[in-house]
Symmetry: none
Subunit: 215 residues, 4 copies
Amino acid sequence: MPIEFKLRTHSNDEALVKARRTHIVHCCTRVFAKKGYSHSSMRELAKACEMSIGNLYHYFGSKDQILYSIINDATLRQVEYVEHFAEETSRLDPNSGLRELIRKFFEWHDSNQNVTLFIYQETRALPQKAQKQIFESENRIHAIFETAIKRGVASGDFRVSEPGLIANNIMVIGHAWALRRWSLQKGWTFESFAAGEIEAIMGTLCIQGGNLPAK
Amino acid sequence: MPIEFKLRTHSNDEALVKARRTHIVHCCTRVFAKKGYSHSSMRELAKACEMSIGNLYHYFGSKDQILYSIINDATLRQVEYVEHFAEETSRLDPNSGLRELIRKFFEWHDSNQNVTLFIYQETRALPQKAQKQIFESENRIHAIFETAIKRGVASGDFRVSEPGLIANNIMVIGHAWALRRWSLQKGWTFESFAAGEIEAIMGTLCIQGGNLPAK
Amino acid sequence: MPIEFKLRTHSNDEALVKARRTHIVHCCTRVFAKKGYSHSSMRELAKACEMSIGNLYHYFGSKDQILYSIINDATLRQVEYVEHFAEETSRLDPNSGLRELIRKFFEWHDSNQNVTLFIYQETRALPQKAQKQIFESENRIHAIFETAIKRGVASGDFRVSEPGLIANNIMVIGHAWALRRWSLQKGWTFESFAAGEIEAIMGTLCIQGGNLPAK
Amino acid sequence: MPIEFKLRTHSNDEALVKARRTHIVHCCTRVFAKKGYSHSSMRELAKACEMSIGNLYHYFGSKDQILYSIINDATLRQVEYVEHFAEETSRLDPNSGLRELIRKFFEWHDSNQNVTLFIYQETRALPQKAQKQIFESENRIHAIFETAIKRGVASGDFRVSEPGLIANNIMVIGHAWALRRWSLQKGWTFESFAAGEIEAIMGTLCIQGGNLPAK
DNA sequence: CATGAATGAGGTTTCATTCAT
DNA sequence: TATGAATGAAACCTCATTCAT
């Protein structure tokens, strides 16, 4: 269960608060992504949100809370997203199911490159308690991939000694598309990257050769 | 070419300057690793170096230059290190050579976890020009792995359609040992991690099953 | 003459306005007494009054005006109160009359400890003109005590060279019950304090005694 | 024993720190006395100290600490002063001794009117712990007066049922010279005030004169 | 009459950098 | 060479007040 960090606010209207917070998180993510957390001043953030500084503080008690919300919201969305597709792909055979799940995971990180980058760079700035929460979410995603791999092992489709490491690899490869975009996005489109990496990962898992799509 | 930054004093004793700089880089890395770049003040850094603030400024013109030196020094050392073992392992057969090279690469990141973490988190804070330089070094390492893979392909030892992606994977997996240590270092020792990942990577490359060293 | 401050809305219902103002003064006094004037925000005050901030501003044009009203209302009530009992006790003999008057004065400050404290601490924050007004009220009370003492001197009941100083002492002793309650209210109940102090004061005044240094 | 509040400082040179702190306390007392604590900005304080704002923060970690130092230093000086004269006057007969002690006490408050005013107005702004310390000092002074009175009672010079209340009165009368100067200093010089009040107080204490309720 | 979201000036505080010693 | 006191710009944040609803 995510620890609820009390986001202090001076406002009462819940719907408004939610809408404004979403707006702020959205706008600030862009600023942070461009300039980094500590080089973005509240003045810039307020301007990016088209709000006064004071009003920003009606919805977030501090700059740190904005940071926290960006990271936490994104992490929770990611978990939800991955859980959704884990459910969906669990109806397919283990091989196709995992391929599809990995692809969906990659797609998330393609669509949320700024956030992925951001999480790697700024999570440390959060208080311990908040970091724990982020790590917890990461662990849940890791567990999903591990489970999907183990299903294939159980069915005889995969052969792998360390499912936990492969699950980890899937994740960092997905992250890499964002983190190392300065390199990867020069040589690959998202499509070619995703296809190539999925083959590479499945190659590790599958017993022999036939890990390529049917000829 | 490394960006040259100017000394603030005209030292006659080049050796002293070099020693002091190394000392500073060493001590500041620890502080930065613990508290993050922007939460470390020059006062703290000076204290960690057992120097006065003023003296720090004799050896580095600004806080940014220390950051730059840490990242750049480490990156150059890494390139040198990897190039050294690339040379060394090029005498082995492609399979064993690559295994050994990966292991050495992983070992470097095991020994330099703080720096690896640091590079991911703070490179963005550097000026464009410095970032380019770091990326350049990363590219050189990437090229080394790609070359080593291609050698195996040419010799018929490996079968792989996208050597560039595999080279990328090797790197991010090595980095992950540091970046995701809060997760990985709970379930694996360095030894078990390295062995497991090398098998996984080689499994992707090798034609069939025999991803174990030839008997 | 009390300074007149303007309402911000044209209310038709004078009674409502008066009631609301009384309510606000009452509630804000409690908040100010607990947290001090400048550490109490309008938000807190509004909450304490169970009103919106906006509505508060219908009844008081500014935070300063609330402060002023608290102090001024209390001061005027005090003057009225003391004048009432001065009238009442003037029918008794000077000795009993003064005793009774002092007791009533003490009782007022016992019942209005927060206000007494408040007046000492925050009067300075008021504009000069308002301060003058408060001082004026204090002077009226002082004059009442001085008159009561002089009546006793005239009648031969009291012997005192500086009635003004004694009047001053009566006042500050009454205030002290509130101002120094952290000390006095540990060692004395209000009853024991009042009785003891009245004896002490009357001891200064009364005849036999050569309360002058022996010649 | 006074609790030592750690005055955070960035400075090492103890003598300099002491000198600067004394200077700051001196200058800021004047500003605070004129404008009140919360209406004095750090900018004004720095200007009054003829220092930069940043440098002020080398010697005091916060505005609150300056406030605390002013009040605490003054209080400690006062205790020391009173203790000194208590010692001195204990060699005289009880009557002359107490007279002299009261006069010295009054003199201190005449010379430190701003501080006296200040303590009454701003002590509440201090953290609980600091307030306790101030109250503790006040208690020590109170005890000194109480002791001096009891000495006179023991010797038969004074007759008084509540020495604690008289001690309290002495103190608040001394404070009143500062707190109510807008009134008192119009009608009395310090000399006439001190002489008059000492007579009044001694009148309460001295034997003949039935300062007990009429038989 | 009542509300409370919005404003933005101005508060306290931090900290990279300089320079006299 | 080495020191650290001094600087002041700029950061984060608060809050009295306004005004559209």
